[in-house]
């Protein structure tokens, strides 16, 4: 097994951004760090700087204000990187869909790799999404070795099959 791929799958450093969440998903995301769920056992560490992060966790739907910020954070992250949309708001803007001040899910600003629904999703589902994202990190690194221009960014997304709350 490739040592780099193993390391990438085992060490996803996550950066959490609240695009305009009601804090429900934020609380569940932070709950993953508590001793009960302990996401660090998978090597995932919440990190403050986008330049260190491998994975961007987005909660809440994207509006006109947060789109620019989300894009800016995403651009500062170095390759390979993945984006995980946590909760139904970040996935498709949920009950706020077509509101005058809402643009939509996180994919309106940045390419999203893993979607996870729920309002809010359970911490188990979030952990599942982060591990799924870490697997995608490996694939992205392989692509960089043999760069292939991606024509359709929406087609290679995955949906978490975990139990959602």
């Amino acid at each position: 097994m490739n040592l780099v791929h193993l390391a990438q799958a085992k060490s996803p450093w996550v950066l959490h951004y609240d695009a305009s969440s009601c804090n429900g998903c934020d609380i569940e995301t932070v709950a993953c760090l508590t001793p009960l769920y302990d996401i660090e056992r998978f090597g995932a560490v919440p990190i403050g700087s986008p330049k260190h992060a491998d994975m961007l966790l987005v909660t809440g739907n994207v509006n006109h204000k947060s789109k620019r910020v989300l894009r800016n954070i995403y651009d500062q992250m170095t390759e390979p990187k993945v984006v995980v949309a946590i909760g139904i708001c970040a996935t498709s803007s949920g009950v706020f869909h077509q509101s005058y001040n809402v643009l939509g899910g996180a994919d309106q600003a940045v390419p999203v790799d893993v979607y996870i629904s729920g309002c809010p999703p359970r911490p188990e589902a979030i952990i599942d999404a982060i591990i799924m994202g870490a697997e995608k990190l490996k694939k992205k690194w392989k692509e960089e070795e043999h760069p292939v221009k991606r024509s359709n960014q929406g087609s290679d997304t995955e949906r978490s099959t975990a139990d959602v709350g």
């Binding site: 390391a7 403050g48 170095t78 390759e79």
Partner: protein, 280 residues
């Protein structure tokens, strides 16, 4: 001291340091009632960082980061070859200053905050190490680190208070609470990411590897207090290491001023009293 042994030390120190950091994360997790990451987690992190794209804001930053690791290794070699302890302190200080300069090389205010704090940490910690050099001179008649192998009684028996002061300073050097001011390890929160905010990819990996070497240097400093028999020193070093982990998990971070006041009052006080008592 053969050069082959120095080579083994220089290559082995980062590996051993990384492993100790993994054990640190495991013990910390267990103290908090968590399962914790695997012991080889620091190696996963560094391999991943080496494979990641690296960006830098300007070339000075890269130069200073390499300089940080290089001088840390020089400090290690000085200790391994039992050379002058004062020169070792200067090499260690130069390494730390390089890190602060790497933080200052960017325009990010967060990394500037981290660098300012790093400089204050140096101000708080290095004088106690200089006191240790004086103590070494008074006990052995030479600044050479090898001198401790020539005296019969362990340095700890002559300098118990100085040892306490060094333990206080180790908290700063190991970047552990309550004195993890410039950049804390693990998942602790930080002003963005303190001094390392603007480092990425392999340059961040350089910083991590330098931390591993720094940990080994710190353990060797503790070891110097009890070199005969050697296993007593190793036990002392590991005991000090575990004590730091315990302190890290039971204390919140203190403020900058508190760190400088504590280390200057207690660190200087304890060292001076001990050295005066020894000379009288």
């Amino acid at each position: 001291m053969s050069w082959a042994l120095v080579g083994i030390g220089v290559l082995g120190a980062p590996l051993l340091g990384g492993l100790l950091f993994g054990i640190d994360r495991k013990i910390t997790a267990r103290l908090q009632g968590r399962k914790g990451p695997p012991i080889v987690q620091p190696f996963y992190d560094v391999i991943k960082l080496l494979a990641k794209d690296s960006t830098y804001t300007n070339r000075r930053q890269v130069f200073y980061l390499y300089s940080h690791l290089l001088w840390m290794l020089v400090a290690l070699v000085i200790l391994l070859t039992r050379q002058d302890f004062l020169v070792f302190v200067f090499a260690l200080t130069f390494s730390e200053v390089s890190l602060a300069l790497a933080g200052f090389a960017t325009k990010s205010p967060y990394s500037h905050v981290g660098s300012n704090r790093e400089l204050l940490q140096i101000l708080a910690s290095e004088p106690v190490l200089v006191f240790m050099a004086f103590a070494l001179y008074l006990a052995t008649g030479s600044f050479l680190t090898g001198g401790v192998f020539l005296i019969d009684e362990p340095l700890l028996f002559s300098y118990p208070l100085l040892f306490l002061a060094v333990l206080l300073v180790l908290t700063i050097l190991m970047r552990k609470s309550p004195f993890d001011i410039s950049s804390s390890a693990h998942a602790h929160q930080e002003i963005v990411r303190g001094i390392s905010t603007e480092f990425s990819g392999k340059y961040l990996a350089l910083l991590e590897i330098a931390h591993w070497v720094e940990l080994i240097i710190i353990l060797i400093i503790v070891f110097l207090f009890w070199v005969k028999p050697w296993w007593a020193g190793v036990l002392l070093a590991l005991g000090a290491y575990f004590l730091e982990l315990l302190i890290d998990n039971t204390y919140a971070r203190l403020k900058l001023g508190t760190m400088v006041r504590t280390t200057w009052a207690w660190g200087f006080g304890l060292s001076l009293v001990n050295i005066l008592y020894f000379t009288l």
